[in-house]
Amino acid sequence: MEFTCKTSKEIGGMGHSLKRREDDRFIQGKGNYVDDVKLPGMLYMDIVRSPYAYAKIKSINTEKALAIDGVITVITGKDLEEHNLHWMPTFLSDTQMVLPTDTVMYQAQEVACVIATSRYIAADAVEAVEVDYEPMKPVMDPHKALDPDAPVLRTDKEGKKDNHIYHWENGDREKTEEVFKNADVVVKEQIYLPRIHVASIETCGCVADYQTATKKMTVYMTTQAPHAVRTVVALVAGHVGLSEERIRIISPDLGGGFGGKVPIYPGYIVAITATFLIGKPVKWIEDRTENLQADSFARDYDMTCELAATKEGKIQAFRIKTLADMGYTDGSANPSKYPAGMFSICTGSYDYSTAFAEVDAVYTNKPPGGIAYRCSFRVTEAAHAIERMVDILAQKIGKDPAELRMENFIKKDQFPYKSALGWEYDSGDYHAGLEKAMNMIGYDELRKEQVEKRAKGEYMGIGICTFTEIVGAGPSKDFDILGLKMFDSAEIRVHPTGKAIARFGTKSQGQGHETTYAQIIAEELGIPAEHITIEEGDTDTAPYGLGTYASRSIATAGAAAAIAARKLRDKARKIAAYLLEVSEEDLEWEPGKFSVKGAPEKSKTIQELVFAAYTNYPPGMEGGFEAVHYYDPPNLTFPSGAYICVVDIDGKTGAIKVRRFVAIDDCGNIINPMIVQGQIHGGLTQGIAPAMYEELIYDDEGNILNGSFMDYLVPTAVESPKWETDHVVTPSPHHPLGAKGVAESPTVGAPPAIVNAIVDALSPLGVTHVEIPVTPYKVWKILKEKGVVD
């Protein structure tokens, strides 16, 4: 698709495929990640972790570890308890151990931390710490967590009598029941989205540096939300003298986040405590297995879904009941009001007015989490549920799934559209998206080919997913984290020579903010993007913001940048009127300059006007050329997509080949098409991951059986099909740039498209559903059950 640009290539505003400027340093190996930070006198931390999923700690003997030359100290829960630092709050107001004083709650939980003069000595000392455990039978199955005879895991909570965390519901239970009773057709399926991990290439870690002379705490940290971390640390550790003005969080280059770098992990807190007590910098960097085994998981929703429809296939109501396994604490990083995130987007892209959704969350002996892995808080789960159910309905009534979708879509002229569960969808054109995808992939020909293949006993499937996302949290009336409203910010400072630096409350983890934010400012101010430096992640310099996750950067900070730039353009207009001796109304703006209407030769470039802001500005005006804006979005944005996938299945081995995958996205107006395409390619790959490869597997004893990349199967370029992408554009009506955000759409939309294709391939065998990840082994089991293989 061609993009029209308002600015010249030199200015490089919206619509230009500028190369990512951050890539120069990444490609040359010159990025600056947390583990690249080395400070004089730095000490190293390593962590003793529990081999048991549930056990009493009878004793911890640190003698042998302390005897090792180079070991400075070993910190245990009891040590932290003396400072009342052994527990900390989670974002959803649950509590989490920093280090345990008496009980471990999951395998690989932190038990004690060793501080030593080298990383190697620290690792040796970890083995020398003797912990005497009394193992207990863990609660691993969330379905059994609420049994009357299940042990109550959170005995730390006074009066807690079971393992139930919360019940959340939305919609009209009775009305939904009524519609279901009277419906011609009801389809029902239990759909489990297993526990997965973001598995970012860079693991988590920090270098905490407390300077005893200045009493200032600087923490270089792998975090997607540095400001929120600063505030939380101040709230948790204020009582020991770490007040917020003394805390500086620096989030340098990040090697992927995907939601996994939003929570505050115990390791950070112990490292901060250690440097505070010792007075020397302390580095803690997780290894791969620690990252996979202990850091936040995503998904783990077991959903019972029902769809009611007329016999022609008009959807009438949707009902969904979910059991959420949260591990031993609710470590979700959701907006406070939404324990189940944006799960109520589960009514999808379809026009019907009745729905009911509920979620019950339980504690088990697994690591905490429930984070939004490249997804705006449970949107992936929601989209998977509705998109699978629509296919199951189509299969049941014998209708083509594309046709069924076309007949049920919310129509273009119905926007803004109030969904059955209360969201106001801002914009979209679902028919155009699906039509484009069908044309691009050659849908009708593929269906013909499928008929021929089936006649020969071959298994070919075509799967569709037409999802609606909900991103950009969020409007302050509903959205906060720990009370902090979810606005975000941009501050632009233009130097006298017309070059600029802009700082943001968000934090790129690979999204390309240094390029796209510069393009937004270039678009609005006409200053070439290459003359604008973008900075994020340093709480001492950046304006306050809630960080980057939930596809919120463009929706919030991107909007803030546009508005801050517009404030500067207004100032430039005043200066231009002064210099050109005309009234403001007589001036005309084109990217990069103001000219007098009807006299284009009388003009001032933005660079001249900025210079004048420092050298020759109107009397009474403030000098300088700087603006800051905190953007509070009026609504969320609703990107959508139409994805079609073609698979071929080997009828003897169960091997699945994704032959083609077409993704048509509507993310509103596009800032950098090349970055958007890159985002979609990456997101689709992270979509095929849970669809066909990834799952964290635990056994009844509480072992995680695939806590390394040997068995936790992250797909590579070899496993990825050739992605074919394009767009339809319906600008967001309320976003200053008409943008909606894109990063998460492909992760949300790809899994149902793939599963729908696999089920379609196997449907001649009577298959209506397969749980993800759909592996060749799972397909083989179906083939065996159906007597296709022996």
Binding site: A123, D124, T289, T653, T716, V718, E719, K784, V789
Partner: protein, 291 residues
């Protein structure tokens, strides 16, 4: 992921390596490409006090035909095999297997000798060498000795190599007209151990009668396994799809896989059967092309 402390010794000759090995005894391990040993050390499953690096010993990196024998030096890397013209032209089974090992950066370091000497039934070369009826040449402080591949694999990570032995060369009967080999494996993703792998080396005459056959299996048995019964079923008979099917069936029956995250025992038997059928066909295709 931090190994226990160890001393590092770099040997520049075999003799020097043996001297180190004799000095440090059971506490020492040889290191070649390091792609099996180092992960185990990083997990601290293996904590040798001494590492004797043999990777820079000169003269152990070659692929050549000599006196009717293909000779592969033990320090030949997987990448060397993958890009060898000789292998491409005459021993495509070696290209098949090297391409399926790890990823390009692994193949640049990992050695053929190490893959065999590690004695892991999940490694790919053991099955291939069984199919090729290779001869393993080992050298120790007391000189060299030959070990037929059928006597080489003893158990989990155990081979017929004696304590200080270094595997120095692999010898394979040179290919001739009517000979074709192939290797294939089913893996969960690139770089994974095989769920099942099948190596076939086949010689047919112009009437498609099997003159010689070797079939080896990867990771479906506690030790690398030759499917003798399938070989017997094929040898001396004219190849047909029925016969190939029968050989596949035997492979599925005679292997002894263990259920793990990759799948159940039944699944592994089933895909071993299918993979055997397909790999025999691929080898047959190549064998015919060489006539």
């Amino acid at each position: 992921m931090i190994p226990a402390s160890f001393d590092y010794h770099r040997a520049s000759t075999l003799q020097e390596a043996f001297t180190f090995a004799q000095e440090y005894g059971e506490d020492a391990k040889y290191l070649a490409g390091g792609h099996s040993l180092i992960p185990m050390m990083k997990l601290r499953f293996s904590e040798p006090a001494h590492i004797i690096d043999i990777s820079r010993i000169q003269g152990l990196k070659y692929i050549k035909e000599e006196d009717g024998i293909l000779k592969i030096g033990a320090l030949t890397t997987e990448a060397d095999l993958e890009f060898s013209d000789l292998c491409h032209d005459k021993y495509p089974i070696l290209v098949d297997v090297s391409k399926l090992i790890g990823d390009p950066s692994v193949r640049n370091k990992a050695t053929v000798g190490g893959n065999l000497a590690h004695g892991d039934a999940a490694n790919d070369h053991p099955a291939v060498m069984l199919a090729l009826k290779a001869n393993i040449v080992a050298e120790g402080p007391n000189g060299t000795h030959n070990i037929p591949v059928d006597e080489f694999f003893k158990g989990f990570f155990e081979t017929a190599l004696e304590q200080h032995d270094i595997l120095i060369e692999i010898q394979i009967p040179a290919t001739k007209a009517g000979n074709g080999g192939a290797y294939n494996k089913i893996e969960r993703k690139v770089g994974d151990y095989a769920t099942s792998g099948v190596a076939v080396n086949l010689t047919v005459d112009t009437s498609d009668t099997v003159v010689d056959i070797g079939i080896g299996l990867t990771n479906v048995n506690p030790v690398p396994m030759r499917v003798s019964r399938a070989e017997e079923a094929l040898k001396g008979n004219k190849l047909t799809q029925e016969l190939i099917e029968k050989a596949g069936k035997i492979a599925g029956e005679d292997c002894s896989p263990t259920a793990d995250l990759r799948g159940s025992e039944d699944y592994k038997r089933s895909i071993t059967k299918e993979l055997t059928i397909r790999t025999i066909n691929k080898a047959w295709e190549r064998a015919k092309a060489s006539l």
